[in-house]
């Protein structure tokens, strides 16, 4: 019987995951009465595997967050190698990202702030300008954009570096001589991201507000001096804002740094840059959005 014989009965593989494994496929063929039960168990196992895989990174993140916070308060953790890694990473992030962040702040000022001021002036709600700017630009837009910049510029770099170290075996070599990669790489980098998130977030907010003021002043919508404008903005901030806004910048930096490092560190020998980078980016974006939404909830 040739393969092209039109009379030949066609046999379709059973619709289970075992179809790719001839041994398992042979076993399912003998199922008889138990076939539906086995199929159901197979489905359940698949759901369980999927759930565990999705929850795994979240659990790793939670555990590692606690680890970073706990270790950062122990003087013994701050060895000179850890201090060196912290300072060099922080310099890289802040110096390297300063221009990009300020530029993004200026663009946000041009696009968002000038529009807000213009439309509020047009509707006679100019007194709400400060409040709107704080709630929209500084509280909502700034953390997301700063988080995306951190992720793109440095978070992906950490993912790549640590991923290549994990895949190549250098991480194992470090462990063999007593160098804990969590202490040497994850702790200082995460804290450097945290400090940088706050610093760049404040600079971004300042740049966007000043640019918005300049644009509105030039278009004649407002005539107040800049300090009056900034005073309006400051007056519009509630006591909670003074806590929430810095906390949001800090948290975004923390989770972007930690997520990037952990994605790299949990890479396996089956991973490559083709799998690692998309995973790191999607996780990072998701983390930034989740943090932003969590802080925006009025609980």
């Amino acid at each position: 019987m040739s393969e092209t014989d039109p009379q030949a009965p066609q046999s379709f593989p059973p619709p289970t995951d075992t179809t790719r494994d001839p041994v398992l496929a042979g076993q399912t063929g003998q199922g008889g009465l138990f076939a539906p039960v086995q199929w159901g168990l197979g489905r359940l196992a698949w759901i369980g595997r999927l759930t565990r895989r999705q929850a795994r990174f979240l659990l790793i993140m939670l555990g590692a967050s606690w680890g970073v916070i706990f270790e950062s308060f122990r003087a013994h953790s701050w060895r000179r190698t850890v201090r060196y890694e912290f300072v060099s990473t922080m310099n890289n992030i802040i110096r390297g990202g300063l221009v990009a962040t300020m530029f993004a702040g200026v663009l946000t000022g041009l696009a968002a702030v000038s529009q807000v001021i213009y439309w509020l002036g047009l509707t006679g709600l100019a007194t709400m300008t400060g409040s709107i700017l704080i709630n929209i630009v500084v509280r909502e837009i700034a953390p997301i954009l700063v988080g995306v910049l951190l992720l793109g510029r440095n978070g992906m770099l950490s993912t790549t570096e640590l991923g290549l170290l994990s895949i190549g075996g250098e991480i194992r070599s470090m462990q063999a001589v007593g160098i804990d990669p969590f202490l040497l790489l994850v702790l200082p980098r995460t804290l450097a991201f945290t400090v940088a998130g706050f610093t760049l977030g404040i600079l971004f907010s300042f740049a966007s507000l000043v640019t918005g003021y300049v644009m509105s002043r030039m278009s004649g919508v407002i005539n107040n001096p800049v300090w009056v404008f900034l005073d309006d903005v400051a007056a519009a901030m509630s006591g909670t804002d003074y806590v929430i806004i810095p906390l949001k910048f800090i948290t975004v930096g923390f989770v972007v740094g930690l997520g990037g490092c952990l994605t790299g560190l949990t890479a396996t020998s089956e991973d490559s840059l083709r799998t690692l980078l998309p995973r790191g980016f999607s996780r990072g974006m998701l983390i930034v959005m989740v943090v932003s939404v969590l802080f925006s909830l009025d609980l």
């Binding site: 013994h76 060895r79 000179r80 190698t81 060196y84 570096e161 290549l164 170290l165 190549g168 075996g169 250098e170 194992r172 070599s173 470090m174 462990q175 063999a176 001589v177 007593g178 160098i179 804990d180 040497l184």
Partner: protein, 233 residues
């Protein structure tokens, strides 16, 4: 370095490595390494040699038995103690061990910077002296990818011998290194043994260690049924 003289420096007592984690045969491994000893272990498989060195460092989980270093069982120690103890081991390994984003001179002194409080000037001075003895013109400051393979082997030796480690696990650098490395390598081993360090020299080729035949205290072969003693006739 304080000389450890309270018994075997490294002791494998019927240690059965986890096959899933290491790929080593799951049979009992037993041996003792005293301070000042130099033991040659022939392992044809490079991967097995690396895993055996990992077993000595307490990195491989055991199904049974124990591995003790300086009288301490790896399995009884917490993370901090484990890492502190591993800081006393110098290794030359065939596994990738040069992070690409760290310049070689930093990678050489990294272990000492991490585990000790010795001033960096002293460390750099010692590293430069060792680098010259292994045939390098000084401490290489480039990134690893810009360094020839032979110089990386020399740098690996500098890193292993820096800081006067108590135990040296040397996956034969002579095999992939330049021929003129042999004398300085053997001299460094002798110097380390004289101050009380134990040396495990993992070789693939039997001919490599013949030059140092008189100095070897024991020879073993890493086989499918564990460590087999080899006669040095």
């Amino acid at each position: 370095m304080d000389v450890y003289a309270s018994g075997p420096l490294l002791e494998l007592n019927k240690a059965v490595p986890s096959f899933d984690e290491s790929g080593l045969p799951p049979v009992p491994f037993s041996m003792k390494l005293m301070p000042g000893d130099c033991m040659v272990i022939e392992a044809r498989d490079i991967g097995h040699a690396t895993m055996f060195a990992d077993l000595c460092c307490g990195l491989v989980p055991l199904d049974d038995g124990s591995v003790r270093f300086m009288g301490l069982d790896w399995a009884d120690l917490g993370d901090r103690e484990l890492n502190a103890l591993r800081g006393r081991i110098g290794r030359v390994t065939h596994r990738a061990s040069w992070p690409e984003f760290v310049p070689v001179h930093l990678a050489i002194v990294l272990q000492q910077l991490h585990h000790t409080t010795r001033p960096i000037d002293v460390l750099v001075h010692d590293a430069a002296r060792l680098a010259e003895s292994f045939g390098l013109p000084g401490l290489p400051t480039q990134n690893p990818s810009f360094l020839p393979e032979e110089d990386l082997v020399r740098a690996g030796c500098v890193r292993a011998f820096l800081g006067r480690p108590h135990l040296l696990l040397l996956e034969d650098p002579l095999e992939s290194g330049p021929a003129e490395l042999s004398n300085s390598f053997l001299a460094a081993i002798t110097e380390a043994r004289d101050r009380g360090a134990g040396v495990i020299w993992l070789v693939r080729n039997n001919a490599v260690w013949q030059e140092y035949r008189q100095g070897i205290t024991a020879t073993w072969r890493l086989a499918d049924d564990g460590l087999v003693a080899v006669r040095m006739g």
